[in-house]
Symmetry: C2
Subunit: 339 residues, 2 copies
Amino acid sequence: MAQVTLRDIADHLSMSVSTISKALKGYADISKETRELILATAEEMNYIPNASAVNLRTKQTKTIGVIVPSTEHQFFSKVLSGIIDEAEKYGYLVIILQSNENYNTEKQQLQLLKQNRVDGILISLSNETHRFEHIEKLMKEDIALVLFDKTTKLLPCSKVAIDDRQAAYSAVECLLKKGYKRIAHFRGPHIPQLSIDRFLGYKQALIDYGIPFDPSLVYVCDNNDDFKDGYENARLLVQEHKDVDAIFTITDVVAVGVMKYFKDVKISIPDDIALFGFSNWFMASVVTPSLSTVDQPTFEMGKTAAKILFEEIKALKNKVKIEPREIILPTSLKIRESI
Amino acid sequence: MAQVTLRDIADHLSMSVSTISKALKGYADISKETRELILATAEEMNYIPNASAVNLRTKQTKTIGVIVPSTEHQFFSKVLSGIIDEAEKYGYLVIILQSNENYNTEKQQLQLLKQNRVDGILISLSNETHRFEHIEKLMKEDIALVLFDKTTKLLPCSKVAIDDRQAAYSAVECLLKKGYKRIAHFRGPHIPQLSIDRFLGYKQALIDYGIPFDPSLVYVCDNNDDFKDGYENARLLVQEHKDVDAIFTITDVVAVGVMKYFKDVKISIPDDIALFGFSNWFMASVVTPSLSTVDQPTFEMGKTAAKILFEEIKALKNKVKIEPREIILPTSLKIRESI
């Protein structure tokens, strides 16, 4: 059965399409009786208003677009859950795209969302993105925009993130206070701001506690969502630095890779080497030994980013100028068996 | 800056809107020179065709909707990744909604997707859904539909899933062949077919190997994505059945909850009790001891479901009758330290 159209209702009632259309829109020049008859018939015939037509009329699509590096990563799947949850409250649908950490894909997806006239866009930047013309262009148009998690200092738009530098500083400071002195860092790739900030927090804590910074103790994990990088770097570290007494990793997933290697070669955590992760992934409390980590709000990050976006959408609709906001969500340390 | 309209281009070139519109659609009654001038100007002015208008014209929105119980669960986030990946190949956008395992939410979301005239819908049914009028209604309309993972025998539409009964049978058979005799089952809720099928597979294996089925060894986990249910049922099991030598759980997450409880009370896996999970969640190989489990294709399930959906969308567009298909994806056992 095809979708019921205004024409079908008109034919059924022997009325004109324009009468049906006016009645459904509640125009005053249709009598109350006629309108009620038309509404009842539309309901009976299972008529559903066409959102595309409504969109053309209202200039709003009631959809937002979200671009994330990957939906698979537990962090993003929780953020997405928060976004979808909040969108539902505002009556919005959410289109989700994954950039796979690729700049060109991200750029194309932005264009696609614009073609679909979404009312607003949320982006967590890909690791490869270090040029921002595609986003600057967007900011000049009537589309609300909020960056979250992986943001950049170079764009004056609204952002929701944590203070990665401060959070990393606290984690390393905690290790230093417990007496660890040779602390390695398994960092993320060189581009994304959060990877830079966590590294800088690590470095600053060492300096503040009088420990000379040793660049050879910093290992790069190209993919910080894959425990293989943690496993492989742990293998290298053990070969190259027998004196390391603690490792601070960019994510819990990398830490789990380290754990797996240490288990394979019977290095004991925390007796031989202590381990501190980042993100408080739900597995952190379940692995053996349980993992000390930085707790960051994920579901809440999604909700907050969506909320700000809906406020900007409303402001744009009312032709009110948007003042970009930067929201820093609080983090905390979870101290467990691994240190 | 507002979006550039056909009117803006027309004013800029001192031409009529209909000339601009015809040129952009490639109509033959516009001269080549004029068309090239208009295309160049549209490009220069950063004109983006309005997808809503194109949708009204083509009667296709090039979007599909997906309803899943939750985007947070690792299983669904991987399936979604497969769906989005496949959709991109076909030039489709994906709207994602979460039913939170609630029947009424699922029903409303289906209506919302219909209003937005998506070209097709993918659903993994909520645990609460045991009436199907909302889906039957959909099947009578021109919208392609494919169920995946949590499906039902009661609807004659296309489905993509695994053979849960057979997969569970194999897991329990593996335990029986290794000599385990008192095997408990931590099952899922009573409604969803996969929960029923995994239970039936467990029961059939016992019967076939001459072990009497004991209903008191079956514990229900209301939320099979939360390790708390596994933890709590493990606690009950230890109180009620000291002779149990193995547990087969509905999911790996439940198994991890069991592990956590056993760790807390110093019950050794597999020496005291063996443990067999389901889904080969990536943590299964990393936990201590590593978890024996049923491997099921997740990313591939998403890709397959999307592929069938796009074939149905094409068939509907060409007015070809759809023959519902049921695809059963293969599973395999991963035998690790926990048995």
